[in-house]
């Protein structure tokens, strides 16, 4: 990976009249001018196809709990987590419903929370409103035309935002801006940088002028399309005009440690043949994407990350742990020697074994991410780590994966101690809160996941407690007490013992 040096540019720009106000604005935004205040960040950490709930959720509640095999890799971090059982997604209760509802609540055609948070942060924007990173998510998207499994991140149901599966493209986009930086702080270097800035601005201004002229000729339906294009170009322009909006700390100016195994992505005819979509590449891609997520948060490039391990139809196995695809395996677990189904008993066992191995592997990746976040200082607040100021919400589109049900989703809040999360406990909401129940949910009373999304929205500062939660839909804003399902009875998300 090409070594990128940002320090020179940043120093150079800091000396110029153009950059000074931008730097100042950025620092004020981060609270550097006043006493350090935690800037909340969030990571939606998705792992696919649900779990075997009894092997994920602890049986105990409260502060002392033992994690079963599938979540055991998180036991060392039990005091940093809130394990939550008894949560479902409503009203739909399968892959399709889960993918529609995971970040949208039950209003499937709403701008999803990750995008909405990014839009909210527009007033004090990090360079990337939100960042969607995938580990083989594109080849894993299931569903059909008749029963689509929409992407988790969306502006609307008809406008899905796809995660970037290619970690090298993601890295150069987040940190490289696609243009070699001019290094040094001599007068010539500053002049060269100024010229480069002028060029970048002109290029994007002209593209924007083309977009505006075109938009005026289009019918409304097509205008929307041009609007998201224009908005993206504008965001790009903001980023390019303000390279100072990257933290000046050493880890952000010298990124040479990225990609230590020199993973490469040679050009292929069909992206499905790319190294980053192959089984053999999965573990490395996972490492790289988590590193990008961590660095992007640490370096002020974004405050909202959606990290996807696969999607609803995760085709690939995980190397060394099984030979069946993750999704395939997830629907074939059953007690060993059960002579059943389309598979021979031996194959049945192979899938069950594989799926449990895969699930442990996913949990190990969460643990790896926790470790990395804990060891990364948060440049915004001296003496704290990124982990202290970041809400990590682990989720899946299903709960009980074998029968395709959203019941008992493996929700875990992780980190964010400085944001008021009551970490180090296990809560079981089954039959414990006035919440959804129904035939499709085994007749038990499970809590909708909407209060969790609502808590994230509140803690990110998007809404003040008590204010209506406003969501964007294609037909206009909707509002209510939750991000999503309103529930049969009143329920205060902030009084669930989570925060």
């Amino acid at each position: 990976m090409k070594k990128l040096q940002r320090r020179g540019i940043l120093r150079g720009l800091a000396a110029t009249a153009l950059a000074a106000p931008l730097m100042q604005a950025f620092r004020m935004h981060l609270g550097r001018a006043a006493a350090p205040v935690a800037v909340p960040k969030v990571v939606f950490f998705y792992t696919p196809c649900g779990v075997e709930p009894p092997m994920w959720h602890p049986t105990q509640t409260g502060k002392t709990f033992t994690l079963p095999r599938l979540s055991a890799p998180l036991q060392p971090f039990a005091s940093d987590c809130i394990f939550m059982d008894g949560i479902s997604m409503v009203p739909l209760n399968d892959h399709q419903g889960g993918s529609q509802q995971m970040l949208a609540g039950d209003e499937k055609d709403v701008t999803t929370l990750d995008v909405a948070l990014g839009d909210f942060l527009k007033s004090a924007p990090p360079p990337f409103k939100s960042l969607e990173l995938g580990v083989q998510s594109l080849i894993s998207k299931g569903g059909s035309v008749a029963a689509p499994h929409p992407h988790f991140t969306r502006i609307s149901l008809s406008h899905e935002i796809f995660a970037e599966d290619n970690p090298l493209a993601a890295f150069s986009s987040v940190f490289g801006n696609g243009t070699p930086a001019v290094t040094g702080n001599s007068a010539d270097a500053i002049k060269a940088q100024m010229l480069l800035s002028a060029q970048r601005k002109s290029v994007l201004d002209i593209a924007t002028a083309d977009l505006n002229a075109l938009s005026s000729r289009l019918p409304n339906s097509e205008k929307n399309k041009i609007a998201s294009y224009t908005d993206a170009v504008r965001q790009l322009e903001l980023r390019l005009a303000d390279p100072a909006s990257t933290s000046n700390s050493a880890m952000c100016t010298d990124l040479s440690a990225f990609n230590p195994t020199h993973f490469t992505v040679p050009q292929v005819g069909d992206f499905r043949q790319s190294t980053y979509e192959q089984t053999a590449g999965q573990a490395t891609v996972a490492d790289l994407q988590m590193d990008i997520a961590r660095l992007a948060l640490a370096c002020g490039r974004t405050r909202v990350v959606t990290l996807l391990y696969g999607h609803t139809n995760a085709h690939n196995p995980i190397e060394g742990l099984g030979t069946f695809g993750a999704h395939d395996s997830s629907h074939f677990f059953a007690p060993p020697n059960m002579n059943a189904g389309q598979a021979t008993p031996a194959q049945m066992d192979a899938k069950l074994t594989a799926w449990r191995n895969y699930r442990e592997w996913y949990a190990q990746r969460v643990a790896q991410f926790i470790t990395a976040m804990k060891s990364t200082p948060d440049p915004d607040v001296p003496g704290t780590t990124l982990f202290d100021n970041t809400i990590i919400l682990h989720t899946s589109e299903l709960g009980d994966g074998a029968p395709h049900k959203t019941d008992r989703i493996p929700y875990v809040f992780i980190g964010g101690a400085n944001l008021g999360f009551k970490l180090g406990q296990a809560i079981n909401f089954t039959n414990a809160v006035p919440a959804y129940s129904g035939g499709a949910h085994s007749g038990l009373r499970y809590m909708s996941h909407s209060p969790l999304l609502t808590i994230v929205a509140q803690k990110m500062g998007m809404f003040n407690p008590g204010d209506p939660i406003v969501r964007t839909t294609p037909s206009g804003p909707v509002s209510g007490p939750f991000w999503g399902f309103n529930g049969p009875q009143a329920l205060d998300p902030m009084s669930l013992g989570i925060v």
Binding site: S144, A232, Q347
Partner: protein, 508 residues
């Protein structure tokens, strides 16, 4: 507006900038709908990809200035006149229409010394960079000219692009531009002449292969994980990837071979007694090695071979199967949906698909029948499984077999609910014959090609104009003795190829 697909982007960048193998790896793939990357409504340039278009475009511009400067800039003077000529000439090729006066002024601003640093070549590079992220390059216009009553007619330049992307998947060539410039392309005779010329070009073969691959969902083979315990030949990942790549090659070669080199008729797609293999695939299929290395050679399959025709192509059988066995459901669904244009409803929300203990039967067929052949599942599965049963002679990795779990293969099947009485058949050959002689299937190919070319599902628009156009295309296919190249040409001769209605645009 139609956004270029990733494949179209790559080909267009290559032609526009005179670059071989432009590196477009960082452009994220689009969002295909029913396999079609050309689907206009699901394609966006947004926060998820705009900076990749920019960085890839910048790198291409750098390369073009280094490698293709003399072709791109035909004047030598490095002054305003030369800059103007460049913006006009290059802009017309990038935007696929003449550059408007206000656009020319805007783009000439990039030669301003305050922006270019006084370096002419930098100005050239900046113009290329900018045009490569302009909507006029990344999207092609189908806005047309207003002819009143909510009707619009595509301009000759828009028609030129319509033709070049339909058949070549890239920008118009000089001859098409000249035809557009002269206005000749407003005329159906000229459209037909150009369509025939484009199809006859090697790029026409490649374009048709792209269509066929998307129609047949060939890319599924790339992501079809196979269990090495069941299929030891695929244990090594690189070997497996080589075999899948060869299956894709087989499909491209077979479809284009029929359409361009052989009888060019629909029936041969199903009745062929040959296929195309390279050494890798011949070895996998157990055929004599053609000794052609990686290139594909037409080889006879011999009398009595179970293979032959679209249904037994490796990529289809391999991609529509499970990790450890065939999938009559997936195969039947694909044939029903893509070859008969008959949709199957989705499984009901919340359906419990847990494999229950004690499922009867030993063969895959018996088990799937026991699981889905009765009760609530049967209503839909009987529309799919009995079609797929006809291909039970081919296992999940596209290999011929006569036994499954110790029992003889039963490849008898039926197509239910398309005709007053079910159509029964036994095995892939008979199923192929059924499809080949089906008027519904013939019409379905026409509808699919229309959909691919136009970038939307004509049925979904609810537009009578579109329904009418598809029907006329289907009739023309039959009238022309099911000639494939003729079908490909006829799509451009429908009124709907050049006419637009405002309401249709809104419904797109």
């Amino acid at each position: 507006m139609r956004q270029l697909t990733v494949t179209e982007y790559r080909s267009t960048a290559s032609d526009l900038l005179y670059l071989s193998s432009p590196n477009t790896t960082d452009i994220p793939p689009g969002n295909p709908v029913r396999g079609y990357t050309t689907n206009a409504a699901s394609a966006f340039i947004d926060m998820s990809n705009v900076d990749k278009y920019q960085s890839v475009g910048n790198a291409l511009a750098d390369r073009a200035v280094k490698e293709s400067y003399a072709k791109l800039v035909t004047c030598q003077t490095q002054d305003t006149a030369c800059a103007t000529t460049f913006v006009q000439q290059f802009g017309q090729r990038a935007f696929r229409r003449p550059v408007a006066a206000d656009e020319q002024t805007r783009y000439l601003g990039l030669f301003d010394p305050a922006v270019s640093g006084g370096d002419f070549k930098t100005g050239v590079s900046l113009v290329i960079q900018t045009m490569l992220i302009s909507p006029h390059f990344l999207m092609r216009s189908e806005l047309g000219s207003d002819v009143g009553n909510g009707k619009f007619v595509l301009t000759p330049f828009e028609i030129a692009s319509g033709l070049s992307y339909a058949y070549w998947g890239t920008m118009p060539d000089d001859a098409l531009f000249a035809s557009a410039q002269s206005g000749a392309l407003s005329n159906k005779t000229e459209i037909e002449a150009q369509a025939r010329r484009l199809l006859a070009d090697p790029r026409g073969r490649a374009g048709i292969a792209t269509f066929a691959g998307e129609w047949l969902e060939a890319s599924r083979a790339y992501v079809a994980t196979k269990d090495p315990a069941t299929f030891p030949a695929l244990k090594d990942a690189d070997t497996a990837a080589g075999i899948v790549a060869a299956m894709r090659g087989e499909e491209d070669a077979f479809f284009t071979g029929v359409a361009f080199d052989s009888t060019k008729k629909w029936n041969e797609l199903f009745s062929a007694d040959y296929t195309y293999v390279n050494d890798t695939l011949a070895s996998y299929y157990g055929l004599p090695l053609p000794g052609s290395g990686e290139s594909f050679t037409k080889v006879p399959l011999g009398a009595g071979s179970p293979r032959g025709g679209l249904l037994t192509l490796g990529s289809f059988l391999f991609g529509h199967a499970r990790a450890d066995q065939s999938s009559p459901t997936q195969r039947g669904h694909m044939i029903r949906a893509n070859m008969f244009c008959a949709d199957v409803p989705p499984p009901p929300p919340g359906v419990d698909v847990t494999i229950k203990p004690g499922t009867a039967g030993s063969t895959g067929r018996e088990q799937i029948q026991a699981l889905t052949g009765s009760g609530t599942c049967a209503g839909c599965h009987n529309l799919m499984n009995p079609i797929g049963f006809g291909l039970e002679g081919f296992d999940g990795a596209a290999q011929w077999r006569t036994m499954d779990h110790g029992e003889m293969i039963d490849a008898s099947g039926a197509i239910n609910d398309l005709t007053p009485t079910p159509i029964t058949f036994n095995g892939s050959k008979e199923l192929s014959n059924v499809i080949a002689s089906s008027k519904d299937a013939q019409a379905c190919l026409a509808a699919n090609f229309y959909r691919y070319v136009r970038g939307f599902d004509p049925v979904q628009t609810g537009s009578p104009d579109e329904a009418n156009a598809v029907q006329k295309l289907e009739q023309a296919f039959v009238t022309n003795n099911l000639d494939l190249p003729e079908l490909f040409v006829q799509v451009a001769l429908q009124d709907s190829f050049t006419a637009r209605r405002s309401v249709e645009t809104l419904n797109r």
